[in-house]
Subunit: 234 residues, 2 copies
Amino acid sequence: MYDNKNEYFCFSTNRNRLTKVKINTMNILPDKTVERLSQYRRNLLICDGKGKTHIFSHEIANIHHITPVQVRRDIMLIGYTGTLRKGYNILELIALIGEILDKEDGQRVAIVGAGNLGRAIIQYFHNRRDKLSISAAFDSSPDKIGQEYDGVKIYPIEDIDKIVKEKNITIGIISVPVVAVKATASALVEAGVKGILSYTPRPIDVPENVYLEEYDMITSLEKVAYFAKNIEKI
Amino acid sequence: MYDNKNEYFCFSTNRNRLTKVKINTMNILPDKTVERLSQYRRNLLICDGKGKTHIFSHEIANIHHITPVQVRRDIMLIGYTGTLRKGYNILELIALIGEILDKEDGQRVAIVGAGNLGRAIIQYFHNRRDKLSISAAFDSSPDKIGQEYDGVKIYPIEDIDKIVKEKNITIGIISVPVVAVKATASALVEAGVKGILSYTPRPIDVPENVYLEEYDMITSLEKVAYFAKNIEKI
DNA sequence: GTAAATTTGTTATTTCAATAACAAGTATTA
DNA sequence: TAATACTTGTTATTGAAATAACAAATTTAC
């Protein structure tokens, strides 16, 4: 359960007004809440772009096909408080989610493997998040090295250690062929990254001071296939 | 809880021996178990390729960085039984997971959006699963239509309905730009697919007789960023 | 042949996530 | 002004997933 003792306050700028906001940084947020916060923020930014200033929990819920209670609970966990019968101030909420998810000075990301998938990811992130930018790509193929995709320069695999330290990169994305996964993960860990996101089907292991997230498209597709096949039983 | 009344038997071929295997198809398997079964199978195939015939629960567990109990529980849920002190027969287990995950005649998959990500997925699946094959790709760009990537032909978006029905496609993967997501999802549902895997950040909704899985790379990366930032608190 | 060490299969417990329930406060309506 | 409807914030309950615990069976060691 959420420990109310570990709370403190910060200030969030709402246009020309400074608002005192209670946040909770002592305790880690639940996995699923973090995921949803990321999604809320993206859609809140769209709402803001349309000139909307406030939003109700049930509106957020509708966008994401979840329940209003879940939304309110997530927002409660980050210590934000809306206005009764007026909803949540969109800009304040965006700012607070930013406080929670981003580091003040952002984090830099490296991607290893500039094949189709790697390039898709680079393209996908291009200009989307100012606090989380892909700062370098690595590949072993000589004809890719030195090139740039969407402003991201491609370095040789051997330079991982040097570049990661030089650019203060804290997160690595792995999208190399399975044979190279183990070596890639080791190189990133050696270089000091704190988080790894792997898009390969090969399970990898990392020391416990590195956060690892693995996603495998084949597993996802097989899962969809299973539940599609059995849809009438769900 | 697992309902033992709904069980029946099937036969699994273990080289030249026919083995009676208890399976459970009446009840749907837990989400996470399905995911792990897919992963087990892939690594079991590798083990088989190396000439290994049996495997212990703790060996499977080590490969996937989970506990042996979890492995045994998953295997229990599909009704397979190993041999005490000998472990699980790899080929039998592969065959049974196949019975569970695959349809007898397989399922066909369409991918909508043949950009970087779409092509990455096509390439990724090329020749990997005989029971789950990408049978068609769709795109709106005239210069892509008619081309082939890894043996997958690209059709115009407008032909979704026709081709999906013609080829008896049951699963759709969406990798189009956000503006086209809604229309794409509708077209696939209209055409009769039973499962959709969406790689776009835009939440979509489908009727309840269609299984939907959404995955968003930005959310994953922001989650990794959050936990990497707070790694010492985990 | 007996004891010790393994390893499976299953039940019980714990942990984590989602949902339900509801008090309290605010706006609207009559 | 009183009654109604709405919306938040929080606690309580339910449900799902993971882990722990352990009986039973088999091999190995002595």
